[in-house]
Amino acid sequence: MASSSDSPEKLGGDDFSHPPTRSPFLSAISPLTSLYGRIAEWRKSLDLPNPGTPENLQKEVKMTHLTNFMFDGARADLSKNLSINPAFQISHSFNLGSQVAAPSYNFGAVYATNSTLLQGSVDHESNVNARMNQGWSETCITKMQAQLSQQVGHSMLQLEQDYQGQDYSLNVKAVNPSPIDLTGIYIGSYFQSVTKNLALGFETMYQRQTPELAELATSYLAKYTGTNKNWIATAQLQPAGILQTTYWQKLSDKVEVAADLQVVAGSQRRDAIATLGAKYDLRMATFRAQLDSTGKVSALLEQRFAPTFAFLVSGEIDHFKNAAKVGVGVMIESSNLTPEEMGMAPPQP
């Protein structure tokens, strides 16, 4: 190969060819580049899927369980879609009568194009949440997240760079990095598909509170996806002896179940919590039910009466503490677009 590339250079004249020092260098490293090329080709031939990000390791379980959806008291969410492309949405949400949180009002705005997402929300105490995602290509995304508060010490800034390769995901985060003495929290993670089903990875956190005091902690991740992608099992081992395992299965188009077991086996504390949940997606409603080993039984019904109007009822009974929570909510979407523009079928006569 070296001889064939040499002859056209000689024909073309030395003035226009590469510097003569470069081709010996290239030929010197050519075993390495060809080895890299062969490994890349072999890796491509394995046809491993992208494992997803470590952040989304338990995404399916979190979407099935209602821990993130639970609320109590009364709430109303009014959202307005003002434009579809670019997407522009404004929302007002009101919360009232909760046992754990004070009444609150929250205003949110989202602006999104194909590559950029800008999101912001502000509550009545003027705490601002800001989020920005900028996609440079299909696989490379820079993210910024910030919490800004009037109170000292409540502000937070997180910068994140995400790269998704063909069969791996790479992510680097910096939380509250200080330009003066580089204190802050730095997190790096790598997640690699090992076979078509199994993915293994790790996440390392480097915590630097003062220039003298730094701490390194690594957690290990594993994810096993069923061949038909209808079930997923994950495990995450964190330092200090925290093990979190989850299992998620899609039983049919409408029913998903998920289980979560968290074991804390540290030197001071030994504890375990198991959670079992199910989600039913019906034509106009979503129903979630959950039972956990701390004696809590909870359920959430999200009933859509019209495409733009939904009604929510939630309830939780804590049998061990003899406590209960009830919540009702409405979600109203308004839009100045016609139903055709929103991609919906015209109403039946």
């Binding site: 003002l82 434009s83 670019p86 522009f88 404004i90 705005a109 601002v128 800001a130 003495d181």
Partner: protein, 51 residues
Amino acid sequence: MPSEETRERILKVVELGRTVMHYGWIPMIIYMGYTRSSPQPMFIKLISPLA
């Protein structure tokens, strides 16, 4: 390690950036959405929950 003066200057810039972002982030999103969405919405719809 930067000098004391540089540190103070950096802290001041960070604090200023934080304040600008605190008050400017939401107005910036609304401005970008308002000017670039099609069709352009009425301004009252942007801020009033009832409109």
